[in-house]
Point group: C2
């Protein structure tokens, strides 16, 4: 029995792969999780007591949650939800991206991702039979608008930006996002702006929403998963032009019917607690961030840690020929610590995404100790064998195009 | 800005369209809802008290729910979940269908649906750039295996059966399902068996699960939405061959990451209450079914009601040239009652899906009174105008193929 070609072209999800490794090696500390250490605010959990809405809700979300989102978008993002712009609640940010993609692109169309990319974006593009075109970011993981412009062809349907960025932590300056957005407007393609980590900026970095610039060409994606410790509840949302609303309704009706109502009820509570809830936790994350950075300096010369100002990730580059998944496998087996291999994000060479968001301070410190010790020892005595893991060649080529 | 061609090819979801009509006409009784009148069992609601699992869960569902499902499949469906067969929890039955489709079919491939079809299946097939091939059922809405066999081409990837059937209520005999399943096995294509309404049979009708026949070519889809009054919680599940497991994980990771954990926790409670919970309510539905049938006899000669033994639908055929959506619009505006126009299911001519599942006895009786009165009066004096609704041509052709 055959498996579809489109799914063969999609990389295996890396998170479950690493999770399997961790499960097989109890006691492993995971620096791989794309989650925060805290759960939802009290306001969210209290609202679901006595929940009694068991029938299907509207495809696009409950009016109560839509109103809550519209207020937040207006006051925090400068996005005016009026007749020309619609909000659609989704079962998480990934679904919002899939919705957008299916609504705007046909098989063979091209979607520009900035590399390193978020793996689920690249997977979604291939799943939709579109072609991911990877434009590299610079040494500091910042956008290169000139390269983006060059990569646009008649088949290009959208440029995707993620700021603050997963996996790099980069926060894109307003000027760069404006430039990309204007480029998309001029070339009549969509700008898909993923803002799942909008609250996670440090120091002087400031989040900017391209949706605030107006125009029907911007699709903005948001998630409650990180800000409100809401990962398991599966609630995200998107803003789209009115002209896409009918299409998005078709897609979400077919895939989901509606986002889970108990999660939507809780989401209203979370958003009522609001940004301040996340800000309280951001102070803790900021401290962890500093100690993770200090620890990474202990790895030595063969480790480059580009400085970034957002999320709870560092994407570190290691000077070795070792495949990053082999390195992760050895780190787990021999040192009891896991990170995400950079090839999952289209990185060439050996790199690791190190996440400290899901851990308490003590565990993160111990995890970093293991990581630094492990990387130093393994890379000074690199092993010659890599058991049990099929090598995946890197997907991004230096010319900014992808294979195949 | 463009909308994708694939989405233009997808029909607009009918349920929200009718819901809009109803909202604009307060007091309307809806005989259009594909839901039951009851909510989840106490066991489900009690389990979510103090829920505290806020991080992502496994892509394929929690071990606890998977175990619960495996026991149920073994004891009730005769499906043995062993190494060769996997269960994946989904955010509803629709998502299970989309997962299956993307995993087995490429653009241009054909999927055989039995007509009238479930609209979200047809929408999913088009969304995936595949071609729905509609094989008509007979006068009693029963399968025609010989026609299915004739419709198979080298591009065919699957035959989809739904039993008990939405929208017709037909329960397919074991012999017919065995024949279709054997046909699929012999032709090396998948048999996708949608069993969302497995508990909803009446009289002597008995549900049969083709998955019990073994073999990697059967994909079985299930849902908690109807049996446990679980529509808003979005939990379904699917059984697939081990050979499809990796593909399904890729797809669900990309679209959803994981089904909502609070819904999965509740689902375990619901399934512990078990089939008996649904059976208690089925007695009520059975009585309503009788009175709906009696009421429909009052419409007169120009109404054909094929007798069926399952679900909570009747798909009635009306002898008129009127477009069914125009009829529904007039029924809502003039008589305060709604049903689903049959063209959404690919029916030619004028037909209506009448659902009594979501209503209490009194409301259903009043709704049927309005429907019978409305249909009688409107069809004796058919209006010449249909305002505000764009006609959608029927999608199924008599030769069992679709347009385009």
């Amino acid at each position: 029995m055959n498996v579809s070609q489109r799914i063969i072209a999609v990389q295996s999800p890396i998170i479950p792969t690493v999770a399997d490794l961790i499960r097989a090696n109890p006691g492993t500390i995971s620096l791989g999780l794309g989650m925060v250490y805290y759960g939802p605010p009290r306001e969210a959990l209290e609202r679901v007591i006595g929940f009694d809405q068991h029938k299907y809700g509207p495809v696009y979300g409950t009016l109560e949650l839509l109103d809550t989102i519209a207020s937040k978008l207006r006051s925090e993002n400068g996005i005016d939800v009026s007749k020309e712009l619609r909000v659609v609640v989704t079962a998480g940010g990934n679904m919002a991206f899939v919705n957008a993609l299916l609504a705007i692109a046909d098989p063979g169309d091209e979607i520009i991702l900035n590399g390193p990319y978020y793996f689920n974006h690249e997977m979604a593009v291939r799943m939709a039979n579109c072609r991911p075109v990877i434009v590299p970011t610079d040494e500091l993981y910042q956008l290169q608008p000139a390269l983006i412009s060059e990569a646009i062809t008649p088949r290009t349907r959208a440029v995707v930006t993620i700021s603050p960025n997963n996996p790099t932590g980069a926060v894109y300056p307003e000027a760069d996002l404006r430039e990309v957005n204007e480029l998309c407007r001029a070339r009549r393609i969509y700008h898909i702006s993923d803002e799942a980590y909008e609250y996670f900026t440090y120091g002087g970095a400031r989040h900017f929403s391209p949706g605030s610039l107006g125009g029907e060409h911007t699709i903005s994606l948001f998630s409650l998963s990180k800000a409100y410790g809401f990962a398991s509840w599966r609630i995200g949302y998107m803003t789209i032009a009115e002209s896409l609303f009918e299409s998005i309704k078709k897609i979400q009706d077919t895939i989901l019917i509606c986002p889970s109502l108990i999660s939507q009820v809780a989401a209203v509570g979370a958003m009522n607690a609001g940004r301040a809830y996340c800000m309280d936790h951001l102070r803790t994350l900021s401290e962890m961030r500093e100690s993770v950075r200090e620890a990474l300096e202990g790895v030595g010369d063969f480790c480059v840690v580009p400085p970034t100002d957002g999320t709870f990730y560092y994407l570190i580059k290691l000077d070795t020929d070792m495949h990053p998944l082999c390195l992760v496998e050895r780190l787990v087996r021999e040192y009891g610590v896991a990170a995400i291999p950079g090839n999952a994000f289209g990185m060439e060479g050996c790199s690791l995404r190190v996440s400290y968001g899901a851990l308490n301070k003590e565990t993160a410190d111990e995890g970093m100790h293991r990581l630094v010790q492990g990387v130093r020892r393994i890379l000074r005595r690199p092993g010659r064998f890599c058991h049990g893991i099929r090598r995946q060649p890197p997907l991004a080529l230096p010319n900014g195009k992808t294979r195949g």
